[in-house]
Symmetry: C2
Subunit: 334 residues, 2 copies
DNA sequence: GGGGTATAGTGACACGAGTAACCGGATGCC
DNA sequence: GGCATCCGGTTACTCGTGTCACTATACCCC
């Protein structure tokens, strides 16, 4: 391991171009400071030759902020679709001159996490409303974070919020089942996921159903043969069988349909099944899967645009409300 | 939006504790500098009361490096499992006092990307060997990045490398099919993925098979009914039918098995099928799916430990070689 | 020739933290 | 008493950048 020369600084560029460091700075940030075309090009040439890259630490120390948008993400991208939102978000933010950095948020909970994020002095932070408690937001604000944008429900008064409601897919799916005339529903409640997550979505389904006088059987299960078979076996008896099932997501829906077939029940004739997430496999296996899902690119776009607007002193993107509405994809299974 | 007070600095802590800023620094970094127990606790109390969080920019500017491990990730987590490696990696790095930040690498290609990463002056960068060209690594080194660790094959002479070979799962799966006596193989080559990715894995399968005198039919397809059905239809004729198929990954394997059943072919009696990735659904649908996969937690552990060791001036973790070997999960389909 | 103004460029300071060098006082040892 | 040593703490400099305030030259106009 030979000693490597240190990275060139703006002083090196200045020396090489035969000008002062201030001039280099003005040129490279093309500030509106009069600089002759000739020295400008000399500076640019020197920077290129030295492969100069400004030191982000020094820059954000001086500026008091960075161009970083920090996105704390949960350890496992368990929620299907969340990972893809983030993938799209990166591109959208880049278009707007910002740099997205992901940071696992499992390492520090509560206010500890906020403190860790604050250390980076990002320009903006986009995080789940559950993590964005009032003290956490206050801490980030004091740390100089200009835009703290929350995602999720319920919306809170102390920070702007993209009302991205994961339970909405459950509601939309349920409403479709009701529209088709089903009144005896069932809802899978996965054990593997964080309990509160599955629980909330179940409650949304129940509320939607009860408003129409429909019943909802609760089916706790996980993604194993035994678990699903046990749940399904008692549905052989038509009296105990629901008309339709909301399977929480497409993986469970596919597995459920498979298990129903093995039990001798047909989908959708005996039981209708609907999932959520719009996974590719759902369009492929027979019967093809009906599903409710978010329009990921639209959501990513309004989040990025809202962050940019907040940094520029404006409010949320007005398209937020429509972008967060889930869509239905109707195929054979329900 | 009311004006918020700026974030407290170490000077604020010093003022509150009635000591100098240097003392605060010594206490908070518990350097081996004699400080009385009494002032130490006064400083700690002041820091806690002010919710002081050090400014990472200032710290890394002064130190010339940060505790950041930057991991540029491709826009789409195309390789199933790569995303989960990263999830595990975060935890492993945190255990070792490092902070992982993910950065989309689609925004800037080639040396441009390296320059963007260099701006953050991370302590370490872990990136794919394809992105880690010689000039890119040299640039990072000159930018003060202490540890540049590459992942992937081929290994290169100019930087330490974790030889994580995505084609290895294909080889292991193929070897299993050969061991079972299959000599007429087929291999799915997905169109959706980056071409080179699918192509490399296909070639690995071909090489492994030819060494044993077996043939490999190439099946270009994507994850749609039409595409798979077209491929499978000509297999109704036993003369043209392969003994066994490597389906590239578990999603394709599940879809393929489904299509084969609809065509009237049984798995594994008529055709054996093996995937890779060890997805949960594979253990569930009938026939249960055989699959080759990487042991994600082990891989994450050796990567993290190697980064830590490189920062400490040591070499790669000696367990790297064994950790990157893929494992077979044998179930019903092959 | 004096005063105003635009142009091109420089000097110097601040941002927040880490740390080498220094300093006064108490203690120990011959 | 004289010298070294340890303790507890401070002063002052540094990292790389952005930018305010300033200088110097040239030009124009009354």
């Amino acid at each position: 391991m030979t000693a490597v020369p240190p990275h060139p600084t703006s002083a090196d560029v200045a020396r090489r171009a035969g000008v002062s460091r201030a001039t280099v700075s003005y040129v490279l940030n093309n500030a509106d400071h009069a600089i002759s075309e000739e020295t400008r090009s000399r500076v640019l040439a020197a920077a290129r030759e030295l492969q100069y890259a400004p030191n982000a630490s020094a820059r954000s120390l001086r500026a008091g902020r960075s161009n970083i948008v920090l996105v704390p993400v949960p350890e496992a991208p368990s929620t299907p679709g969340v990972d893809t939102v983030i993938g799209h978000l990166d591109g959208e933010l880049t278009k707007r001159g910002l740099r997205m950095l992901l940071h696992g948020d499992r390492t520090a909970a509560g206010i500890q996490g906020a403190r860790a994020w604050a250390e980076l002095r990002p320009a903006a932070v986009y995080l789940n409303v559950r993590r964005g408690t009032r003290p956490a937001v206050a801490l980030l604000r004091r740390a100089g974070v200009q835009a703290v944008l929350l995602g999720g429900v319920p919306t809170v008064p102390y920070a702007p919020c993209v009302p991205l409601d994961e339970t909405a897919v459950g509601r939309v799916a349920t409403r479709h089942l009701l529209d088709r005339g089903h009144r005896r529903l069932a809802c899978l409640v996965p054990r593997g996921l964080p309990a509160a997550f599955a629980e909330r979505r179940f409650r949304a389904v129940v509320e939607t159903a009860q408003a129409e006088g429909a019943s909802v059987e609760r089916v706790d299960c996980d993604l194993t043969t035994d678990s699903l078979a046990a749940a399904v076996s008692r549905w052989r008896d038509p009296v105990r069988r629901p008309d339709a099932v909301y399977a929480h997501n497409d993986e469970f829906a596919i597995a459920l349909i498979h298990t129903l077939h093995e039990t001798g029940l047909d989908v959708p004739r005996d039981v209708a099944v609907i999932g959520s997430g719009n996974r590719p496999l759902g369009a492929l296996l027979r019967p093809t899967l009906s599903t409710a899902h978010f329009v990921v690119p639209d959501i990513a776009r309004v989040i990025a645009s809202s962050i940019r607007r907040l940094l520029d002193g404006q409010g949320l993107d007005p398209d937020v409300a429509t972008a967060v509405q889930p869509r239905l994809v109707l195929r054979e299974s329900a």
